[in-house]
Amino acid sequence: MSLKRIDLLICCGSGCVSAGALKIKERFHEVLAENNITNEVNIIETGCMGPCDYGPVMVIYPEGIFYQKVTPEDVEDIVKEHFLKGRPVTRLMLQDKDKTIQIQKDVPFYHKQIKVALENCGYINPDSLEEYIATGGYEALGRVLLEMTPQEAINIIKESGLRGRGGGGFPTHIKWQMVHDNTQEKVKYIICNGDEGDPGAFMDRSLLEGDPHRILEGMMIAAYCMGASEGFFYIRAEYPLAITRIKQAIEQAKELGLMGQNVFGTDFCFDAEVRTGAGAFVCGEEMALISSIEGQRGNPTPKPPYPAVQGLWGKPTVVNNVETLGNIPTIISRGAEWFASMGTEKSKGTKVFALTGDIRNTGLVEVPMGITLRELIFDVGGGMIGDHKFKAVQLGGPSGGCLTADHLDTPVDYENLKARGAMMGSGGIIVMNEEKCMVNVAKFFMDFCVEESCGKCSPCRIGLKQMLEILERITSGKGKEGDIDELLRLGESVSKLSLCGLGQTAPNPVLSTIRYFRDEYESHIRDQSCNSKVCLDLMHFNIDKERCIGCSLCARKCPTNCISGSREDKYTIHQVDCIKCGNCFDVCPVKAVEKIPGMHPEIVERQKEMAKAAKRNDD
């Protein structure tokens, strides 16, 4: 028998796994065995540690050393140098300016973060119920069941000011209270909404994978408060690991008697099961989600009746988001006052955000509400990649909006974002640099919503399609005067008339980009120019003869043979035949191929001729 002296925590969140974390784990097993120290080291697969961009990452205790961008080839060094000789491997540590950062808590990425929901994510082994209990797990449930009435527990949540983290920001206690107050109906349900579908959001996945018992405990506390004895986890089928982890957590909790009949010797009985979707974004909407659990198409239904009155199989139901439930145990154990001390007047506590896009530290962060966008993007996120400038930030996914550099000092909370035309949404933050075309981005989000619209109500089904067609016209150089107004008019109608949240919010990206980047729309329409050089029809390639060395590489790589010339005369692109594949741009060794905004005069001329010819034919 021997004691373990090293805890090796390998981040096995999806980001690090996609970067090869599992291969590294295998390699550790091999190298530890080769060196005969298998029994001295605990290898623990944790959930997401947050800084996905540094992945694969790992932390080694007791020192707390943080290694980043580890490859299987590095494992031997870590074992031989660090584990055997006590010399941490400096080259795998993070470099911040001229400083080498050794310890996880010194990594700047973590500085402004306060972890509540993510407290255990990346710290404990999500496969182990014992490790969750060691951090104080299930004490909140025990205390609620043994020492509080449901109403007392609801009051704590009320005083904490917790609001739904899935998007809407609806106060959590109100949902619970409504179902609690319905004493006539004996059968009630609690559903955990894990149908995270907002592009750019992955906090629910990370929580379900990294700390499943926390979500289960939160669900049981909610169930006790409202008088439900059955719960459902609705999780996207795209998240197989999250599904496995929750199923396992349920089994473990049952085995220990934390779930099932008479939990903690009280009258409270509870059972939960996992239901999965099959690839439909709209199922994140609570009424659609309920239809899906019932085995139907995930169509939303008009509200009222709200699910709290008539939900799953017609029974009173509360649908809470994963992150919302993840906050519950900590609020109970540390108190409403503590939670409410963080955040702003109307948005209390912390929020998990997923930082993505053209930003240095992509990943998962948890910060107090009210932090400014600037702090979030430049301090926590480390700023823009390369020498690029910040242009816009998209918050709240396809339901949200884009904000600009003028808004960087906006405090991030429900009200402030909404006032500026964006929204909290589930917390996806996509940062964009100056190379992005905002009209194109808006088109992209619209395309997503058109694809995901369930088709049940016509404003969403037809209105969004109309908006997409206008955007496609604008980005292909066929925009007309009045298109912008038409987009605004359609957008407002769709927002007002759609049945569910998807349609009501889908025009937001278009409306907010028109509000803040109207000049880009105008230059697309009037000047037929995409100044960011993204929309292919509104830009062209050109070879700078000063720089061209006549190597002919571009001509050889051109799929349409539209580049000609010689070493002496240099090379030229025949604009009419160019399909703008970008090969010449990519291969030029001296960067003589440039992207120019606007259509080439030859193309404009040709289009005019073709229009004339078409008119003659018509006549």
Partner: protein
Amino acid sequence: MKTLADLKKIREKAQEDLKLRSGNTRVKIVVGMGTSGIAMGAREVMKTFLEEIATRNLTDVLVTQTGEKGLSSIEPVVDVIEEGKDSITYGNMTPDKVKKVIAEHIVNGRIVSDYVVQTGN
């Protein structure tokens, strides 16, 4: 699982698994594992510490390692660090000496002065 006390029992037991991560330990033993330490038998010393602590079920002791400390002539070197006390450095350690340090110093709080090469930092 009927009461909070039941849960507490599981919790206390489980916390031992998290000991390395939480840093909640009474004593920290640091073995110098530089090249010269290893050449002089630091691996055996480390192993004996781990085995002894496991056999005696000492739950509040943590063993870790460090690199060269520049004390090559008296390797293997071991630091015993206790919260609020001067750290004690033992030199020329062997597995037998480890057993004695565990029995005397770690368990009973009596420093084995014969092996001490340095106190304080």
